[in-house]
């Protein structure tokens, strides 16, 4: 067969069909497309913010404080005269930073723990799973608050705190996968030729676990933003003058009645971005569900 004029072996045909079907499902679902567009827009904004933002996000200008939205200040200004639009734009960079790092850390740590737990089984598994249970005994935000407060509120500590909460989800997932793979015959074969446990884990078990964990990571990105914004709102996240969206909403609380824009726009940004991730995540989940792929 040929793709774009290039000959391709026949054995690839099922994979290509599958991909075509995936693309069809992607395009067919309007909501998923909307989600994809939002997420891409978010990424773009985060990257180009320093070039596009009209004002410096932390520069104060008390002469221009508390101004309503206008052509000069699209989203108005806050009590320090800072341009909200620029702050929202820069806030996207912070949000992106948080998502990426939290995903990396919690995904990495969680997967490792899960794989070890699932592969070795026995007492190791029991202990690790009980520890996971203990972490899961706390509502997520509450635990994150505890860590953030204990370590001292800052952007870095927010990232660490949230990672410490979310690793458990990936641990469970990776463990289930590891247990499934562990029993497969080729693992037996590897052991028979004397491969060490570590080798088996890293070369064979781990790659199988990556895919479901990756899907979960994508699905969770919206939640990560919400948790981070929650911490910021409570004052336990990034500290002023960092333009973190949650903290910005909190800033505007005292001015809510007359200067509604200070709280509204950052919150809107959060809502839209989370919406985008959720739509995308839903779409991905639907596409991967074998029963819905018709």
């Amino acid at each position: 067969m040929r793709i774009l004029g290039i000959p391709v072996p026949e054995s690839y045909k099922p994979m290509i069909e599958d991909l075509k079907h995936t693309m069809y499902l992607w395009r067919k679902s309007r909501l998923t497309m909307v989600g994809t567009i939002i997420v891409l827009a978010f990424l773009m904004v985060a990257i180009v913010a320093p070039f596009v933002a009209p004002y410096d996000p932390i520069e104060q200008n008390l002469k221009e404080k508390l101004l309503p939205p206008s052509r000069e200040h699209l989203f108005g200004t806050d009590q320090f005269g800072r341009d909200i639009f620029s702050r929202v734009l820069y806030g996207s960079r912070i949000a992106l930073w948080i998502i990426l790092l939290v995903s990396l850390i919690s995904g990495g740590v969680g997967t490792m723990i899960g794989v070890f737990s699932g592969y070795f089984g026995g007492i190791v598994d029991e202990i690790l799973m009980r520890i996971t249970d203990m972490f899961l005994a706390f509502p997520g935000l509450v635990l994150a608050m505890a860590f953030a407060a204990a370590m001292g509120p800052s952007l870095t500590n927010t990232i660490i705190a949230i990672s410490l909460v979310y690793w458990t989800r990936y641990a469970r997932l990776a463990r289930a996968e590891a247990m499934r793979v562990k029993n497969m015959e080729y693992i037996e074969a590897e052991k028979a030729i004397g491969a060490s446990h570590l080798r088996i884990i890293f070369l064979h078990v781990l790659p199988m676990c990556i895919s479901p964990v990756l899907v979960q990571l994508t699905l969770r990105m919206g939640t990560i933003i919400l948790t981070a914004a929650g911490l910021g709102f409570l004052g336990l996240g990034a500290q002023p003058p960092t333009p973190e969206w949650g903290a910005m909403v909190s800033d505007g609380r005292n001015y809510l009645v007359d200067q509604w824009w200070i709280s509204t726009f950052p919150g809107l940004a959060i809502a839209i971005v989370v919406l985008g991730f959720n739509l995308l995540g839903d779409g991905i989940r639907d596409m991967l569900d074998p029963r819905l792929r018709r």
Partner: protein, 336 residues
């Protein structure tokens, strides 16, 4: 297939987990922070004052000893004394928890009823008007930050339109009912204080809706997905082939199967309600445990936050246990 066995085993597990929770809380409060007293008293406090405080609060003793004495304290019911309020933490918890409970229960009732109804209606009328509305409503619900929704609703309904009352559980000038359970609704009912009942309910509407919004959305989504899945199953075809009315097929066969994942979600959403309560209480100045803990964290009031967090984890675990039991009851295959 024994339900009792299952319950006993889970209870034992919960005890173990709670012990672990205690350890985690202790570590967070005592091991992680660099210098709690210094942070409390400010960086410029003279060393003698710092040392004095340390002795007073028992912080000069070795870690292990402090842990044991804390553990024993908890088992006795003594969670220490709050730095900020100077009252025993347990008393503070007793004072603030009912408000959170009232809010959480109101939010749960609202979201379960609304959520399941939306989910079922959505699934049965797939791709028609109600389905689209429900899906948009749901996806917004899990995307909008709780605190933002709260602020917006406050802005619109209280500040601008003045339809609903503002922050707090009761209007300021009203005398609260005699405190029996701590729940304004129940206490007003019990003492016949109709003013307070009406006012209390009005104050409850916005925070309960805001708190429950994401739960409603989650419940609706999972119910819809679950229902659609169940309606595709072979045993539904069997039920139809018996000549059963579609309405009865949905009610007697599909619903109970479809609700199984919903029940799990209800349990999970109760957890998210506890988290959301922290944020909602802050926005609506609701005097509950969430706000207590938040204030505690901001000033590093360690006994308060340890006790409060411990308590929340306890309640959360309890709810999860109850959900698991209900799950096992609904689905006989789960009683392993």
């Amino acid at each position: 297939m024994n339900l009792l066995n299952f319950i006993v085993r889970r209870l034992l597990l919960m005890v173990l987990v709670l012990f672990g929770v205690l350890c985690i809380v202790f570590i967070i409060a005592n091991v992680i922070p660099a210098d709690p007293i210094g942070a409390l008293l400010g960086g410029n406090a003279p060393p003698e004052v710092v040392d004095e405080y340390k002795k007073k609060l028992g912080l000069d003793k070795p870690l292990a000893e402090r842990f044991v004495s804390y553990l024993l304290g908890v088992l006795r019911g003594d969670l220490g004394v709050s730095f900020r309020t100077n009252r025993p933490v347990l008393e503070d918890i007793k004072k603030f928890f009912p408000a959170t409970m009232e809010l959480a229960i109101a939010a749960t009732i609202l979201s379960v009823i609304l959520g399941i109804w939306l989910g079922v209606a959505s699934a049965v009328n797939r791709n028609k008007g109600i389905d689209h509305f429900a899906r948009v409503f749901s996806i917004l619900g899990v995307s909008m930050p709780v605190f933002w929704t709260g602020l917006l609703l406050l802005l619109i309904f209280y500040y601008k339109l003045d339809i609903l009352p503002g922050p707090g559980r009761l209007d300021i000038f009203l005398t609260p009912p005699k405190r029996i359970t701590g729940s304004i609704v129940i206490d007003s009912l019990l003492t016949g204080n109709w003013e307070a009942l009406k006012n209390g309910l009005l104050h409850l509407i916005m925070p309960a809706f805001v708190l429950g919004y994401s739960a409603t959305a989650s419940i609706a989504r999972i119910t819809r997905a679950s229902m659609l899945d169940v309606l595709r199953q072979e045993y539904i075809t069997t039920a139809r082939s018996k000549g059963l009315e579609e309405r009865k097929v949905v009610r007697n066969h599909a619903l109970r199967n479809a609700l199984i994942p919903t029940v799990t979600i209800i349990g999970l959403t109760f957890g998210s309600l506890l988290e959301g309560a922290v944020l909602t209480e802050t926005v609506f100045s609701w005097p509950g445990l969430g706000r207590y803990i938040t204030n505690g964290y901001l000033v590093l009031d360690y006994p308060a936050v340890m006790g409060g967090t411990l308590y929340i984890a306890f309640i959360y675990s309890l709810v999860n246990l109850i959900v698991d039991i209900i799950y096992a009851f609904l689905d006989p295959r789960m009683r392993v």
